[in-house]
């Protein structure tokens, strides 16, 4: 196989397709918003070409956090992969656990008892609350509000993390779901603590809204910025709050009705314009809906077993076959595709990362905006590098 000589312009080094765009006589400025950056949510790089302050081309470069998660899963048992799924989207470890457990339960045909389903819903909605709180806090931080909304958001998030620690033993790497149910039952007093946290949460949302929702500077910075048309969103495979902010009604909790979500009364908020303001407000509204679900679940939960009696911890060998389980994680559709060949290790283990797939529309959203907007738009996609790179 013969390889042609690559052009040696700087553009070719950086991998830009159109090498003639960058030459020393043009007025375009190429900047690397590099892996060391306060606002890139992790080790992530964006190669941006600017014309003055307008973005002309943008290329996301990731892979700095690749840890071989899928290949490692092929050489360990199904059970041993559960702690590794915590570390995918490290902010929402309980949701990741649930998606993986659901795929394996589909593969092996296990039934989850009712109390375990309730615990799973409570854990997932608490995860959604703390993830959205962190996202909007960091969005404000990137817009320059010097940490004040961030601190308020984290004040609430700490209470939820305390709940996780009491339940699972760890604040973020929870490692809690098992195939067929949950690892341990709720400790004494946990339900009361959870009810108290949920009752105090709306006060933070109201404070946040009065601080920022009608702030003129915020409105000017976010409305009309980074518009994502619904057709482009569907073509790009975007899911999660971003899709709903563009006006497409697709929430997997309502579509698949997995778990026991159909027992709860909650609504799905939809945006109209698909800009940054919509994505920010949709997350606020989703937090309120999660509070509604939590109220109902915390009331309805009843004592009972938490593990499927047929489930095995050691020597777990599902029958040969394949399964795809997906949930509505706070970032989008998180799915696990498993192929089993009857051995204790999976034959193929594939994660559908919502952050990576939502990133594919970043360039389309940012073209024509200024550099300051790029950072803000990027913040609303809400990626976590652990998931993008696995």
């Amino acid at each position: 196989m013969s390889t042609s000589m690559e052009a040696t312009t700087p553009a070719a080094h950086h991998g830009f397709a159109d090498a003639t765009m960058i030459d020393h006589e043009s007025e375009l400025l190429q900047i690397s918003l590099g892996p060391h950056h306060p606002s890139t949510h992790g080790v992530f790089r964006m190669d941006v070409v600017l014309d003055g302050e307008r973005v002309v081309k943008l290329k996301p470069v990731f892979g700095y956090l690749h840890r071989n998660h899928e290949k490692i899963a092929e050489s360990t048992t199904y059970l041993a992969s559960i702690p590794y799924t915590d570390r995918l989207d490290y902010m929402c470890s309980l949701s990741n656990n649930w998606a993986y457990a659901m795929s394996v339960e589909k593969l092996a045909g296990l039934q989850v008892p009712e109390r375990a389903e309730y615990i799973r819903v409570i854990a997932a909605e608490l995860t959604r609350l703390q993830n959205h709180a962190s996202t909007i806090g960091f969005l404000m931080q990137e817009m320059g509000a010097s940490g004040t909304p961030l601190m308020y958001a984290f004040r609430e998030r700490e209470k939820i993390l305390d709940l996780f620690e009491a339940l699972t033993g760890s604040r973020m790497m929870c490692n809690y779901m098992r195939f067929g149910g949950c690892r341990v039952d709720l400790p004494a007093g946990w339900l009361d603590q959870a009810r108290k946290t949920v009752a105090e949460y709306p006060r933070f949302l109201d404070e946040f809204e009065s601080l920022l929702a009608s702030n003129e500077i915020l409105l000017a910075r976010t409305q009309g910025v980074g518009v994502l048309p619904p057709k482009l969103a569907i073509q790009g495979g975007v899911t999660g709050p971003i899709l709903r902010a563009s006006g497409v009604n697709y929430d997997i909790r309502k579509v698949d009705r997995y778990g026991i979500y159909e027992r709860f009364d909650f609504k799905v908020p939809l945006g109209e314009h698909g800009d940054v303001y919509d994505r920010y407000m949709i997350r606020m509204l989703e937090m309120r809906e999660s509070l509604k679900i939590l109220d109902q679940a915390l009331q309805q939960i009843a004592p009972g077993p938490i593990m499927d009696p047929k489930a095995k911890i050691r020597g777990f060998r599902p029958k040969a076959g394949e399964a795809y389980g997906r949930i509505e994680s706070p970032k989008g559709e998180l799915g696990f595709y498993l192929i089993s060949d009857g051995t204790p290790n999976p034959y193929r283990y594939r994660v559908r990362p919502p952050s990576l797939i939502n990133l594919t529309v970043l360039e389309d959203m940012c073209l024509g905006s200024s550099l300051a907007d790029t950072v803000v738009i990027f913040g609303t996609i809400d990626i976590v590098l652990g998931e993008v790179d696995r």
């Binding site: 509000a145 601190m151 409105l219 950072v375």
Partner: protein, 403 residues
């Protein structure tokens, strides 16, 4: 020319506590040979200014960090000294002992000169600020003009810093800084023009003296007039933009271009940039106090026994607290929105404010004058404000829910 006359202290109602610094200066100067006395007097004043405002800089850094901390539900620094009061000393030691890194391709001379020029310019403008009764370094007839002229040198220093660093981020930051500072000079000067029109003089000392006196308990400060209030608000917004403070800190936008024009500075030069920025903030607040808030005059007639310099510093501290408060609350504006705001809102408001000041000056005193002036201020504000918001179709939205 100078406010120093060694033989007579016949200025208006002096008291010992009020004039303590002047008395001390005269006593020290009296010991020197006659030929050297002016030079020594000026040197003493310069040392006092540098020392005093340097100390204020140290206090402001700790005040800002603790203030922001409390706003954000946390303590500020509280390990060094009682409640963190020795933190500025720790910061000074840190910045003095850090390695001074200069990029290899940078323009070394300009890179070195930029912070020095910034601090020089920032200190020079204090020469015309009357800190207390008889306490101004130089009583220039064109004091305000001197202030604005020398104050603009800081913009050159900022551009020097950004250009000499040979770094795309600092270049972006420098460009933004220049555009912002030049745009906001215009409303700044126009809003101070109203005061100059009202007093008929450019000398800071006479502007302060014109604001002495009380009707009842209300002082004659210019902020208590409609045009003065509007002018003060415009002046403070432009001042925030001039000193690159939030919400106008895009040139040093920390979350995008990470410190902008001073990204390649480390160690003591970085500390000099900080010093220059804060000194600029104090200087322009000082000018605002001189123009609109009555300088060193007391706010109520029965409080004139408190020394004048204490009133000046109390007002200065209030303005600094306001700066910190705004920084902790507001996100920052984008570049084009900044410029939009300057040219399409503040400039028309400042021009109309001139008309309001003229109307106030020529109408006879009474409630009619107040009514006309207030209308002349409020109506353009509402119209221009609505224009700003509606141009981008900015409004609060209502969301629908699916099924």
């Amino acid at each position: 020319m100078t406010a120093l006359s060694y033989n007579s202290l016949h200025h208006s109602s002096p008291q010992a506590a009020d004039q303590i610094f002047v008395i001390v200066q005269h006593w020290i100067v009296g010991h020197a040979p006659v030929g050297l006395q002016p030079l020594l007097a000026i040197l003493l004043s310069v040392v006092a200014i540098v020392g005093g405002f340097g100390l204020l800089f140290a206090i402001t850094t700790i005040l800002e960090r603790k203030g922001l901390g409390r706003i954000q539900n946390r303590y500020g620094p509280n390990r060094v000294g009682f409640f963190g009061s020795l933190q500025p000393i720790a910061d000074a030691i840190k910045s003095l002992t850090k390695e001074d890194i200069v990029p290899q391709t940078a323009d070394k001379l300009v890179h070195l000169l930029a912070p020095i020029l910034l601090v020089l310019a920032a200190f020079s403008v204090y020469a015309v600020l009357p800190v207390g009764r008889n306490m101004v370094l130089v009583n220039l007839d064109a004091g305000v003009l001197f202030f604005f002229a020398i104050g603009s040198v800081t913009e050159v220093a900022v551009f020097m810093a950004g250009w000499s660093s040979r770094n795309k981020y600092s270049l972006l930051g420098a460009m933004r800084a220049i555009a912002q500072m030049i745009s906001y000079e215009v409303p700044l000067i126009l809003s101070s023009l109203t005061v100059i029109m009202a007093t008929g003089s450019l000398s800071t000392v006479s502007i302060v003296e014109k604001q002495a006196g009380y009707t009842g308990i209300l002082p004659h400060w210019f902020i208590f007039t409609p045009w003065g209030f509007a002018g003060f608000v415009l002046f403070m917004i432009a001042a925030t933009a001039e000193s690159n403070r939030s919400p106008f800190d895009l040139p040093e936008g920390e979350s995008e271009i990470i410190a902008g024009y001073y990204i390649e500075y480390s160690g003591f030069k970085f500390a000099l940039f900080f010093l220059g920025e804060y000194l600029g903030m104090f200087a322009i607040s000082g000018l605002a106090i001189t123009l609109f808030l009555g300088g060193w005059n007391a706010p109520l007639p029965f409080l004139t026994w408190v020394p004048s310099y204490l009133w000046f510093f109390a007002k200065l501290l209030t303005l600094i607290v306001a700066f910190i408060w705004v920084r902790g609350t507001l996100p920052r504006l984008r570049m084009d929105q900044l410029m939009n705001f300057a040219w399409k809102f503040m400039l028309p408001m400042a021009l109309l404010n001139l008309i309001t000041a003229a109307v106030w000056h020529f109408m006879p005193a009474g409630p009619v004058r107040w009514l006309v002036s207030i209308v002349l201020v409020v109506v353009p504000y509402t119209v221009l404000g609505r224009n700003q918001m509606h141009k981008g179709h900015l409004e609060k939205r209502v969301y629908r829910f699916a099924e």
